[in-house]
């Protein structure tokens, strides 16, 4: 016969102070677990959302980032004429040949700190090719003028990024004419201007990347083969979404390792604590357990009952941990993505899945921590205990 859960709940309430301490300990572990994974998650999502599966990103062969690539003008026009490229409503091919550079900007909160911000010189079609990019305020930069559009995430972190203000880089003043969002992706940490304006002030007659929309999204492999086999150019073609996801790999990996490493060590510590607490709880209640055994409860019921009790304490801790971790959702932080060498702002993302895994993690800690003490309870010698 099963021992009612109410027994465990009441027992837990009998020693509120020690239960609270154990639960809080588990809660902190869960909070760190969720927090670190939310960070890794936010970073990965920011980069994963940057690219579109319907776009192809062309780099010079062997280049592993946009920064290290370089493509001459004639490649841009050859790609523009490719049959795999979709055409816009105005009949022009949806291609953006882009200049990609990093410019050092001083941060607002601490002007001694400098961040490398992406300045992307785009063609007029870029705003259509990148379907997730939306101008939220102001007008797009006019062709032929030293005007720029600033990603939403930059505006709070860097001075002189308001509309109408001028930002100075590459030895010139640039007027900010608009702000844009891009569904939380890494584009939001970039400055966009016209490619023909950026070209002369940065690296001269060379593009870094060429991005185009596929006419048929399913025909990526044919398009890739056609471009890479073309003897007139030496390029690598990547699916845009895959390319940006790959750019997040290194840092994503580091953050993931950190999250798992730190939390597993913490978890072991917390489990040890839970074992101690449960042993002490059982030792204090040995007479009670003996009575339960005497009146006919099976040792197995005792075992499950104490496991449940331990799990309850841990679950309470898990809920506490979730509550502690929730407020970090949406907090914007920034770091350098070493794969592209540029600074990216992204937000912590606490997802329901993450909360759930935090809770499961807590319960697992409770069950693991409660197992041996519960086993001891189940094997209690009745005669000895009742003496």
């Amino acid at each position: 016969m099963k021992i009612p859960i109410l027994y465990n709940v009441r027992s837990v309430m009998q020693r509120p102070f020690s239960t609270a301490l154990t639960a809080l300990g588990v809660g902190l572990v869960v909070a760190v677990f969720i927090g670190m994974l939310a960070l890794a998650n936010g970073f990965r999502v920011a980069l994963a959302r940057t690219g579109s599966a319907a776009n192809v990103l062309v780099l010079r062969k062997g280049a592993d980032s946009e920064l290290s690539s370089g493509l001459p003008r004639d490649v841009a026009s050859m790609i523009g004429a490719s049959p795999h490229v979709a055409t816009g409503p105005d009949g022009r091919p949806l291609v953006s040949a882009e200049v990609y550079v990093l410019v050092p900007l001083h941060k607002s909160f601490d002007t001694t700190q400098v961040a490398n911000v992406v300045a992307r010189g785009v063609s007029d079609q870029a705003w259509t090719v990148r379907s997730n990019v939306k101008v939220v305020a102001g007008q797009r930069p006019a062709s032929g003028r030293a005007e720029i559009c600033v990603g939403q995430r930059l505006t709070s972190r860097f001075p002189n990024t308001g509309i109408g203000e001028t930002l100075r880089f590459a030895g010139r003043d640039w007027t900010v004419t608009c702000h844009f969002t891009a569904a939380g992706s890494a584009f939001e940490s970039e400055i966009w201007g016209e490619n023909e304006q950026f070209m002369p002030v940065f690296r001269g007659e060379v593009f870094q990347t060429i991005t185009f929309r596929l006419k048929d999204a399913a025909a990526f492999d044919e398009a890739k083969r056609a471009l890479e086999d073309d003897r007139r150019m030496t390029v690598d073609a990547h699916r845009e979404s895959e390319f940006y996801a790959q750019q997040s790999q290194l840092l994503g990996l580091i953050l993931g390792y950190l999250a798992w490493g730190i939390t597993s060590i913490m978890a072991v510590g917390a489990v040890f604590g839970a074992i101690n607490t449960m042993y002490a709880a059982i030792a204090a209640r040995s007479a009670e357990i003996a009575v339960l055994l005497t009146i006919g409860f099976k040792p197995f019921s005792i075992l499950t009952s104490f496991l449940v009790e331990s799990a309850i304490i841990a679950a309470v801790g898990g809920v506490v941990g979730c509550l502690l971790a929730l407020p970090i959702n949406g907090i914007v932080t920034s770091t350098t993505n070493w794969a592209s060498f540029s600074e990216i702002a992204f937000s912590f993302r606490v997802t329901p899945m993450l909360l759930l895994s935090g809770l499961i993690f807590a319960v697992v800690m409770g069950v693991v921590g409660g197992f041996f003490p519960a086993l001891r309870a189940a094997r209690l010698q009745v005669i000895q205990a009742l003496r």
Partner: protein, 380 residues
């Protein structure tokens, strides 16, 4: 002193509990030491730099080159004793999964400027006289199983193609921040192969007196202000610090987690200690009856808590120190010179003492204040 057996007996009564408590304290302090060392290592990277070395980069941004012809004009600036230059290469070895820094330098002037890079004299000669030679940090030898005299091929990511170098020399850095996983090769060979573009990523300028650094930096920048490639010059330390700040809030994050870890384990451990003290209420009463003073009982409980906290701390902190030393950990190359500092060890010891007070004080006071009659009433 004569009470030591009593403390030991108390600790050994619940061996498993004692073991688990010590282990959880040890884990907490191991983690604490590791996280704090990330912070101190990043800070040390930012602090690196000879006081008499300046670095000039392109004012437009670190990714833009400077004309190599600047070297002669830099040499003519008053206070400048030596000039060297380097260019980031960014080559990839094998599948590129294991990243390491590699760049082209002007070998003679570069090595003269960096006494921190120690090379056996015969290897140094061999490196300087072979234009296709590479100088590598000793970690790369073990990392990839390379040997002296072997050819290695890197795939250029910025400068396309396969680049083959002969390993002619292996260096050991005297300052760990330099990193022992760098590959350095001849700028002359690099320049020739990219079509004599005459570019340098950055210049290193040796100056006569560290106090003159700001003035010399300014005169260098003034010199090139109106050229097509203006410079930005600062001390090497500022240059390094700019990389360290790129991590953004990582230090803050590590610090926060460290506090959370310590606090979590503190709660759990304190709880375990208090529960074990509660079990012994009867015993304490008996001890009081046979003449133990309140003060003595207080001390006994505190000593017990101290043994648990301090032995856990010794294992955790010592373990962290030894483990990172033995495995030569450098965080995938991102944390060169990862070493648990004595300040971290001291701070960890402080945490252990705080833990001892937090977990021992309540039970110790309870033991000291215990009313014998009340307590013995429950003893069967």
């Amino acid at each position: 002193m004569k009470y030591i057996p009593l403390v030991v007996a108390n600790l050994l009564r619940h061996r498993l509990r004692t073991l688990l408590t010590i282990a959880s304290v040890a884990l907490a302090l191991f983690l604490f030491a590791s996280l704090r060392t990330v912070v101190t290592t990043l800070a040390a990277t930012a602090q690196f730099g000879g006081a008499s070395r300046l670095v000039s980069t392109n004012a437009t941004g670190i990714v833009f080159p400077l004309p190599i012809a600047y070297a002669n004009r830099l040499k003519a600036v008053p206070g400048v004793q030596g000039v060297s230059w380097a260019n980031w290469f960014g080559g990839r070895y094998g599948d590129g999964k294991r990243f390491f820094a590699n760049f082209a330098v002007d070998p003679e002037s570069y090595l003269a400027m960096y006494p921190e890079i120690v090379i056996p004299p015969d290897q140094k000669e061999a490196f300087l006289h072979d234009r296709s030679a590479a100088l590598i940090g000793k970690r790369l030898l073990t990392q990839f199983g390379w040997k002296l005299g072997q050819n290695v091929t890197l795939q250029g990511t910025i400068f396309p193609g396969d680049w083959t170098f002969t390993i002619r020399a292996v260096y050991t850095p005297t300052d760990p921040v330099i990193g022992d996983d760098v590959l350095i090769f001849h700028h002359a060979m690099f320049d020739e192969r990219i079509g004599r573009a005459g570019i340098a990523g950055w210049f290193i300028v040796q100056i006569d007196n560290p106090d003159h650094a700001p003035a010399i930096a300014k005169s260098i920048d003034d010199l090139f202000r109106n050229s097509s490639a203006p410079t930005k010059t600062g001390t090497e330390r500022e240059f390094q610090a700019s990389f360290a700040t790129m991590w953004g809030n990582v230090s803050l994050l590590m610090g926060t987690i460290g506090i959370a870890v310590v606090f979590a384990i503190l709660l759990v451990t304190a709880n375990a200690m208090m529960m074990s003290a509660r079990e012994r209420t009867g015993e304490v009463a008996v001890l009081k009856t046979i003449g133990f003073s309140d003060r003595k009982l207080f001390t006994l409980v505190m000593v017990e808590a101290g043994v648990l906290a301090l032995s856990g701390a010794a294992i955790g902190l010592g373990g962290a120190k030894l483990l990172y030393k033995a495995t030569n950990f450098n965080g995938l190359g991102f944390l060169p010179g990862f070493n648990v500092t004595s300040a971290t060890l001291l701070l960890g010891a402080g945490v252990a003492i705080a833990l001892m007070l937090a977990s021992g004080l309540v039970p110790a006071m309870r033991a000291a204040r215990l009313s014998v009659v009340q307590a013995l009433r429950h003893v069967e």
